[in-house]
């Protein structure tokens, strides 16, 4: 085994002003990230935000135009082969040999990393079980469903027992059930590996990540745990009331009391830093409105993103 370099602290991934331009177009713009060992970090952002470019630079597939990064203390520019030895990558395209079966695909990557046959047998058995792929080991991969391919993709990234795992959009294009299944498998890896995951599904980041970095136009616009990010939004609670008999007078009155009020047919949206559910319902009813339903909406990462960038986080 190679000697461990001095890291100074417990950081697994450290980027320094990491930037990349393509023909003058800025894809990644001075990203500074510190990801701790054993952490599951999600890079959340819309398509084209610079997520894959960032991962590709960290995996030594792309050269940064400016800045650099360290993976377990190894510099991606100066020691790319050291980096490649300790990372596992599950790319966005399911990069699998279609005419090979899952065992052969796994063995190929394992042997390239110099994993011994015995270790390969034991680990692949374990991983295939964890990822629920034991059933069709002998089948050629081209017959697999999209979800199975994605899971195999992750197994292939893990076979050589890497210290750091990169998952680039691990559930892209899958139906909710298949996504859920992959989440369950990823959850099992939490704490055992340092994982950097990219996604444009906010529920995925919300469900899986210890910390989330929101990325837009190549810049990290917000960073923190899911609840930290949402806490910033507590200032902007929204109550949704569905009722009949809204009068213009009542609407005007509400607009005077609260920061934002909008009415769309029978639905009123009330936004303010402080909202008292009881008080609002009582007030509306006493004014003659027939309230059918009312609820206060918890802020989602979607709202956080919208608030920060003025854009919707959609495909």
């Amino acid at each position: 085994m190679v000697e461990q370099p001095k890291t100074g602290d417990d950081l697994a991934i450290q980027t320094f002003n990491l930037s990349r331009t393509f023909n003058g177009l800025v894809a990644v713009d001075g990203i500074e990230l510190n990801i701790r060992k054993g952490e599951l970090f999600a890079l959340l952002g819309p398509n084209g935000a610079g997520k894959t470019t960032t991962i590709n630079m960290l995996c030594c597939l792309l050269k940064p135009s400016k800045g650099t990064a360290q993976i377990m203390g190894y510099d991606i520019l100066k020691q790319p082969y050291k980096v490649k030895e300790i990372i596992g990558v599950s790319p966005q395209e399911t990069a699998i040999s279609e005419h090979l079966n899952s065992q052969e695909n796994i063995n190929l990557i394992g042997k390239i990393h110099g994993t011994s046959s015995l270790e390969l047998r034991i680990r692949s058995q374990q991983l295939l079980e964890t990822m629920g792929l034991t059933g069709r080991v002998r089948d050629q991969v081209r017959k697999f469903s999209g979800g199975m391919k994605r899971r195999l993709n992750i197994v292939m990234a893990l076979i050589h027992n890497p210290e750091i795992l990169f998952l680039d959009e691990p559930t892209l294009g899958l139906d909710p059930q298949a996504r859920r299944a992959i989440w369950e498998y990823i959850i099992q890896l939490k704490g055992k590996k340092t994982i950097l995951l990219t996604t444009h599904y906010m529920d995925e980041a919300d469900f899986l990540a210890d910390r989330i970095g929101i990325i837009d136009e190549g810049k990290i616009v917000a960073l923190g745990t899911s609840s930290e990010l949402k806490a910033n939004m507590r200032e902007r609670n929204t109550m949704i009331v569905s009722a009949g008999n809204f009068t213009q007078k009542l609407v005007d009155e509400m607009r005077e009391r609260y920061a934002e009020v909008s009415l769309n047919a029978d639905t009123m949206l009330i936004t303010d830093s402080q909202l008292d559910f009881r008080e609002i319902v009582d007030h509306l009813q006493s004014a003659g409105a027939i309230v059918r339903s009312a609820h206060i909406k918890e802020p989602t990462l979607e709202d956080v993103f919208l608030h920060l960038t003025g854009k919707e986080l959609r495909e």
């Binding site: 990069a95 040999s97 190929l108 390239i112």
Partner: protein, 365 residues
Amino acid sequence: MRVWELCKRNLKETYRDPLGMGFLLGFPLVFMLLFGAIFSGDNTANFPIGVIDEDHTLLSQAFVNEALAKVSVLKVTRYDDIDTARKDLRFGELDAYIVIPPGFGQQVSQNWQGGKADITLEMTYDESNIQISEQLISIINAVARAFARIEIPLTINANPIHIETKITYVDFIGPGIIIFGLLILIPTAARTVVRDKEKGFLARLLTTPTRPVDFILGYSLYLVVITIAQIIIFMVIAWLLGMNIVGSLWLAFLIFFLTGLCSVGLGMVVASLSKTEQQAEPLCWLISMPLAMLSGCWFSIQMMPSYLRSFANAFPYAHAIDASRGVLIRGVGLEAINSDFLFLIGWTVAIFAIGIILFRRSMRS
């Protein structure tokens, strides 16, 4: 180790894909069979030639009846005077006529007895059909040399060597056809790599400690297996079609093998330069078609203007055709073709070096 794993993976990908496999092995098969069918017509009368015997000796008659008339591709007609023969040539009845000068028999027999001899044959041919006359010259030349056991000035040939007199058109064009088949390995090689590039499989391999050299060699080793299989198919069918192999089969195989490697190397260069199959495909044809035209497999490069000939000679294919014709038809050994042979080896090494450099550059953009 990594090289072998990659090669194994590529071989599996191929033999489990009937369509891909069909192309790799079916192409040379169909190609050669088609070639065989085209030239399998009665090859007794491919070249009508006239002979005017002004010598009237037993030897000159033997030359006409025993040597020239026995060549299956020649249809020999005797003429009494040059004017009639010239008329027939002009009307397209003949491709060429040969005048056997007085004293021919005497000179030949002097030569046989070890004396000095000064023999000439005068050939007049239809210049409008360059390809036919080119081949005709070499056939007559070969027949005359075999008969007289000495160089007979028709065209220039420095090596008085053994010639199979039963030379057929298949013999002549066969090596060129095989070289053309091997040129098609350029797109085959490029496609193999670029397909994996496009599907992201290459990117995945590049996130492992696989080095550019491992990569190029891993894919090349697989393509070497394909190349060998294709050459075997080419040569077996050529043999079944009745191509006479006079020289060393192994030497011919080695020439074809080196040619195949050059194509694989060129394919790797194309693959390093393109990102998608859509980019690679036209680039391959842009390279392989002109190279085929300049190789001499369709047209003799001797007929080209000198600047084009030098250009053609900068690539391995013209050398490969020269060398393989030398071995297969004239039966020469390594010593006669060593410059072509060294050129092929040099080219193979150079193109792979370029491939690896370009690949290294393209892998971290």
